[in-house]
Symmetry: C2
Subunit: 412 residues, 2 copies
């Protein structure tokens, strides 16, 4: 007998019919002798509806009250789900964040989990019940309801799996798993059977949308085996596991692209100590996140500073920098919204030199100019013109042998 | 400075626009120097929507999960309301039943309040906040969410007013107050300025829909002055108070009618000990409530047993009684759904004889036949044919001087 935490997102529980289907699926787990904890999101559309009402009432909604409001979404689904399990002939009980006691800090709308009590859950499991728990929510020491922010239900599921020492955490979603790249632009994209936490972390941070990065980090930390799979088929999905669980790693496991960034260059900045902070301090003070940063020495005592920000922060950042450029005596500020960041990810890179240069060679062969480059131990990212996105992804997918079946590539 | 508990029903908070209006109204109370606790129902339509989803999922929904589901409705309104108060420039905090700690028994969907903690509320009030509390819900000792059943938000408001020793409990609704009778069928109906708890209890139990009987009983027990008034005007409504607060009582304060009952007669029952229980035990075992009961001795050793049940239990009761009638050797079972119960209510009756006979005389004058009669210390009820409803109500309203302004009548 094993203990499995299953998480279903909003589209998987978007109607009473779908909730009943999920109940049927969970009953099969029970019949196989497993104990099951089911974490649910709000029905799709519900959170947006609540946000719309809040916006009607208060321009910048109070965060504590926002959490009070939003947490109702998951409460509805767990109640309906528990009813559906009972209607199907088994037993179930629904629990809210504050009933379990998923204790968080008091950072409303983006709280972090400090501690989870497991006794109540365990006693219901031992009584043979399916325990369904509201995702996305917790409670402060004082008893206020909090929510965990974007991807919060994934985080709830992984944290529960860690606290309960579950055998696995299964994330049910509307895709079959994690793919070598986006199937929408590369028809040779394949589902990955197994991937390491580190690779998944890079893929998630680089634009793969299937898992929220925070939950992957948590899974890594507590060594929770993650299984990303489809709500709508019985197929195995992608297992995200520790590196030593995968016998031979791919050089490159996946290729991602991210069109949400824009590039900004501050030209001819006087090259003197402290100049970088004069540029980036006002940006971070405005709450704008900077991703890649490159500094090129241009000529003596002059440098160009190039970096990327989220595309929806672009206009605001440009506005801000015009003033900054004047203050520090830079020549001009230019920007480009039509860029894409293409990344290759693979733990195999650790032990293999030449992966980055292979990537640059492939891009050059296709006549694609690299605007920015950044690397980490297990990934290489290049910023290129947005119009080359598909061309670049397909060329890399083929060159790194991801078109073939899921076996380690030979050394080149 | 006084402390007032205000309760607004679902139609009063049925949209974000209406919620903002309620916030404006409450701010005026604050500006006048009052401390205010605001109890809210779910937005109109929301509870029905949730019930519909539950019915989709489980034929007879699990009661614990039903409470988990339904309690979300009030949670949404209090969060939005707290935002609205803040948007209007004051401070507010929303609290759920389990956060306040409105402790109830574990009778899900119809729980009774055992105890209310007031410290948290009081500390927020002392900090100058409007405290808004979810109506209709509580929590068990074990931490399960409960709901209080029909009219639960009125009960929450009165119970809070009692626990907080509030100066008044104001029930805001979509009518101006309690009327001498239904203005829809008697255009001379007038709003009552003051009425006693006992009169209000009778009126509520006899069909006046403005206040739930349970909350009136609670108000009486803890001597909470109740003020029933309109959400949509500034007019004074009806005060429900202790008898000694009203200098001179009306002989008759109000006239109600109830079309929700049906009459059943079991004819020629052998008149022997235990026969009544043989008829009524199967009915109560089936969860059917019996209101009036009359037993007429017909001839020696034979009796007719006549009683009323709710009209939506009529078919089921008739079905049940056909079998019972055979078993006990009764001649037949007949029934009539086209009846109405007309009642007159007034504490003045206590000290005046002849009120009942005046009523019978008025009905006789109009040619209305009385099918059943029942009386209590402060009310007289008659069952008549439904088609005479309007005629009877208007005749009684006029005869007991309710058409005139609100002064004690002279003795007749």
């Amino acid at each position: 007998m094993s203990l499995i935490v299953c998480k279903f997102g909003g589209t998987s529980v978007g109607s009473t019919e779908k909730i009943k289907n999920v109940a049927q699926r969970i009953l099969k787990y029970q019949e196989q002798g497993h104990q099951v904890v089911v974490v649910l999101s709000a029905m799709s559309g519900q959170t947006d509806k609540l946000l719309g009402m809040a916006a009607d009432v208060q321009e910048i909604p109070d965060l504590r009250e926002m959490d009070m409001l939003l947490s109702t979404g998951e409460q509805v689904t767990i109640a309906l789900f528990a009813m559906a399990v009972k209607a199907a002939g088994s037993d179930a009980v629904s629990l809210l964040g504050d009933q379990v006691r998923i204790q968080t800090d008091a950072m409303h709308t983006k709280a972090r989990i400090n501690k989870i009590d497991t006794e109540l859950i365990q006693s219901h499991l031992d009584a043979g019940k399916v325990v369904t728990i509201a995702g996305f929510q917790g409670v402060t020491l004082k008893g206020d309801i909090t929510t965990l922010g974007r991807g919060g239900s994934d985080t709830t599921a992984v944290a529960l799996a860690a606290a309960l020492h579950a055998d696995a955490c299964e994330i049910f979603t509307d895709v079959e798993g994690v793919f070598t790249t986006d199937p929408n632009i590369c028809n040779k994209a394949r589902k990955i059977d197994m991937i390491t936490y580190d690779e998944m972390l890079e893929l998630a941070s680089l634009g793969a949308k299937v898992l929220e990065i925070r939950s992957v980090g948590l899974a890594k930390r507590y060594r929770v085996p993650l299984h990303v799979r489809s709500t709508f088929t019985e197929n195995e999905g992608t297992w995200v596991v520790e590196e030593d669980k995968i016998m031979e790693s791919m050089l490159v496991s996946g290729i991602t692209y991210n069109k949400n960034e824009a590039r900004i260059t501050v030209k001819k900045v006087p090259d003197q100590p402290g100049i970088a902070s004069k540029i980036f301090l006002p940006i971070s003070d405005a709450g704008i996140l900077v991703d890649m940063i490159i500094q090129n020495t241009r000529e003596s005592h002059m440098t160009d500073m190039t970096f990327t920000v989220m595309r929806n922060d672009y206009a605001r950042t440009m506005e801000l920098l015009k003033k900054v450029a004047r203050d520090i005596g830079a020549e001009s500020v230019t920007g480009d919204e039509s860029i894409v960041k293409i990344s290759i990810v693979g733990v195999g890179m650790r032990n293999h030199s030449g992966i980055a240069s292979t990537m640059f060679q492939i891009m050059a062969n296709e006549g694609i100019n690299l605007m920015m480059i950044s690397t980490s131990e297990i990934k290489v990212s290049c910023v290129i013109e947005e119009k080359y996105t598909e061309l670049a992804v397909r060329a890399l997918h083929s060159a790194f042998a991801l078109d073939k079946d899921n076996m380690p590539t030979e050394e080149e």
